[in-house]
Symmetry: C2
Subunit: 196 residues, 2 copies
């Protein structure tokens, strides 16, 4: 069916674009570069997508949705704050590992979104970060985490570590995503935990 073929071709365009945006950055990637990657003329791209930015929007908001879904699944559980933080971190890593290319674009290129998309994106992001911050605060209240930690510093350090992973993680030579998430979580959470 035509709609199925169109969808599939559109996804090919978006995936090729993600690779290009990751390598060269959004602004330095031209629609002619993208067309060449796909073996078609630049003008033909517009049969599949409305604009260059529409591709970036798809990539950024699809990733945001995956992150949100992962976090909501963790928040539903009846577990301690430190265990929730641990599972939240592992979930975040697993979502990224499913598409490292899109994750890198999500992280580095979202600023090229135009309004109102940029504003919406930043609101989703601050909400996501704040929910991790709440886990840290909860852990301090229950006595699981040191009461002396700087919450802003802790959460920014956490997301710095998480978000850079797509730039250095090599799934063919490094450990698998779940183990990486567990190790990263241990390293960061043990830095927060009271020493016994």
């Amino acid at each position: 069916m035509e709609s199925v073929a169109n969808l599939s071709r559109k996804e090919q365009v978006i995936r090729s674009a993600a690779q290009l945006f990751r390598e060269k950055g959004y602004a330095a990637s031209s629609m002619r570069d993208l067309a060449q990657k796909l073996g078609i003329e630049a003008a033909s791209l517009y049969s599949h997508i409305k604009s260059k930015e529409e591709i970036l929007q798809s990539l950024c908001f699809d990733m945001a949705t995956e992150f949100r879904k992962s976090l909501e699944a963790v928040e539903k559980k009846k577990i301690t704050a430190s265990e929730m933080l641990r599972l939240g971190i592992i979930g975040h890593i697993q979502v990224m590992a499913k598409d490292l290319t899109a994750s890198a674009v999500f992280m580095n290129e979202h600023r090229h979104l135009s309004q109102p998309y940029l504003r919406d994106f930043l609101l989703l992001r601050i909400n996501y970060i704040n929910r991790f911050k709440s886990m840290i605060e909860a852990g301090i209240l229950t006595g699981e985490f040191k009461e002396t930690i700087d919450k802003k510093l802790a959460v920014m350090t956490l997301f710095s570590s998480l978000n850079w992973m797509p730039l250095w993680y090599d799934p063919t030579s490094d450990i698998d995503p779940a183990a990486l998430g567990a190790q990263l979580s241990d390293m960061l959470v043990n830095g927060l935990k009271k020493s016994k």
Copy 2:
């Protein structure tokens, strides 16, 4: 003297460019944008600089030099591996804090360097990272750090945290750079240290 005036004006151009590159990214920043920021015509920029990329080269390599100098001062000291790592982290933070704008450009825009500059830059960076990795390895040998830690993961987590700082650190509302460096170091190093 004319050469002094020229130098000073050239630095103004570079500083304005750094702000622009930080806000919009290198590729999305035009020389006309930069000229407007300085109140001159785009063509006039070329009295002060040879090309757009020369500005990026200055920013990236000047920062790299500062980082190297800071690290060398720390490496000279006769101290334990964990103390050296701690001072290395504080030094890195202090270098960034001296110019947060250039630091952000250094981190996010270096990939737009052309060859051979890009290759030289990446060699400097891998050398710098490896010297921090050596401190972690030394600390494992002396028993200061857990022997179970993944060295690559540890050093990448460290640099992720360090390098994102220019994107969220607000010198007017947050703690001062030395204290931030100390806190960040404590948080990361305690995550590496053996629990007592």
